[in-house]
Amino acid sequence: MERKTKVHAEDGKQEIFITREFDLPIELLFTAYVQPEIVEQWMGTKVLKLESQKQGSYRFETTDPKGNKHGFSGVIHDLVPNQKITRTFEMENTPYGVQLEIYEFEALTDSTSKLTMHVIYESIHNRNEILKLPFAQGIDMAHNRIQDILSNLK
């Protein structure tokens, strides 16, 4: 499949850029970010609060397979419909610190649009640790799969 999502993480910097083009009009793309019930669906998280407005705040919660709850929250610094969202994001009770997220929404044609996510972390170290998370989880999942296979052999 075509690589639609691009991640640009320059060495030695405490920021990343994520870009993606969508087969969606810009209004629909923006709606996916401001409607709580839609955010829940594509982010795979429970939305406890989402005040989609300037100086609003939000809080998400996910439950992992072991039943542990993880909170994610932040404040919305600014929100310009169909153009821009500036917000903070934090994984609660983790050492990763807070990050500043700048979302730019751009119409390409009447039916396509582009999102640019600019994320700035507290430090280069924090950035690299967060980038590694899915990598580490992947290794964990591989281990779990191996364990499942082994236990089925018993």
């Binding site: 999502t5 691009k6 991640v7 087969d23 690299n128 990598f135």
Partner: protein, 108 residues
């Protein structure tokens, strides 16, 4: 003292990155590597030890000399560490796209 050898910590250091670049093209002895830096020889040895422990470098005995060369497999692993992160976002965005294609606005 036991120090955790993390590949990502290893490559975060500019001297160690310079060492990796040096040996990328040819195997070198510790002395030949150290000659490229103004830092003290024991400091370079320490860097080599760290790079070897996290398997970015491999040692090869050649007569009385030990040559260091790069472990391509490990380097590839490091280069690809960002791929799971990209995949995670790609999955989310694919989901967003398919949900919104079927979206029926409430107020119309």
């Amino acid at each position: 003292m036991k120090i955790r050898r993390d590949v990502f910590q290893a490559i975060a250091d500019p001297t160690r990155r310079a060492i990796l670049l040096l040996v990328a093209t040819q195997s070198l002895t510790a002395g030949a590597i150290a000659a490229n830096f103004n830092t003290a020889r024991p400091t370079v040895s320490k860097h080599l030890q760290i790079l070897t422990e996290c398997e970015l470098l491999q040692q090869e005995q050649n007569g009385r000399e030990i040559y260091y060369h790069i472990n391509g497999k490990k380097m590839k692993e490091v280069a690809e560490f960002i791929e799971p992160f990209r995949n995670m976002w790609d999955d989310r965005f694919n989901k967003l796209e398919s949900i919104m294609k079927n979206y029926q606005p409430k107020n119309q």
